[in-house]
Subunit: 189 residues, 2 copies
Amino acid sequence: MEPVEKRILKDGSNLGNGILKVDGFINHQVDPGLMDVCGQELAARFADIGATKVLTAEISGIAPALMTARYLGLSVVYARKSKPITMPDQVFLTLAPSHTKGRMVELIISPEYLSGGEKVLIIDDFLASGATILGLVRLAQTAGATIVGIGTLIEKEFEGGRQALAHLNIPVESLARITSMEGDEIRFY
Amino acid sequence: MEPVEKRILKDGSNLGNGILKVDGFINHQVDPGLMDVCGQELAARFADIGATKVLTAEISGIAPALMTARYLGLSVVYARKSKPITMPDQVFLTLAPSHTKGRMVELIISPEYLSGGEKVLIIDDFLASGATILGLVRLAQTAGATIVGIGTLIEKEFEGGRQALAHLNIPVESLARITSMEGDEIRFY
């Protein structure tokens, strides 16, 4: 069993309606040792795809993306959800629905850090419906970059993200693949 | 010269009005190798203060705090700026002015992950006026925790943060201490 799966069973909570609480080790309190192990594993799975940059979305994608990028020796870019004053006026911007916020959020990348010819590995904490990741895909494609892989810590297979990404025809890897969250139970692939 | 200082001179930009653009290696695109070196250095400087938890604020504090916590073998908690649905109704909340957003933002921590008796090391990307860090201090103190140290990557000494934190009487460490940003120049301590 993968370390993330074990940790979900130990410290995660099934809040019902497909909501998985993992804020004790991923997205409020973070366990750096676990992130390190996950980064190493994702880097190993994507070692041969020729990625030149790791892309994620703030906020909770940052920790796994940073650790993966560290093992691959690449820079990581995180799409911002609001435009800081240090960013140029001309940016790549798309909208994506936020699962945890219940509204649309902006995803913004400066053209300074994503350009044509880059081969992009997308890393995020969750693959659920795939909407956030598809937002990152649109941004990268607008920049003229190619997506070469998608990796996440936790996939909720029953939300259909894998199917939504299938047309990209690239490897999609998740360290914990949850097939169902009926009742109190959490079942893995 | 510290690695962060070198990198600021190489890839940072002085945008005027005290605004330092470091989004090529810290707060939009991140260099994991640099963050690793910084985390190791901050961990070494705070090795003997008995910290039990690292605390930071989303978004750009996450990378340096994660790397520092990894070297100290501690968990890191990042204060959220909006309350996710996975968080309990009762939270610790304070307001702090955001330098880059030009408005007040909320800083929120779940009582699940910060409790009385914790010895907290605060790590952030910037020490400017100290307002965000003082917000984190208030949250930790409300939780009954003790602040034992404050570390940042970059300090803008001319904005007075170090003085604003002096009453805490704890070690404050910054890897790059900028004393002035007159004209195009960036001067270090």
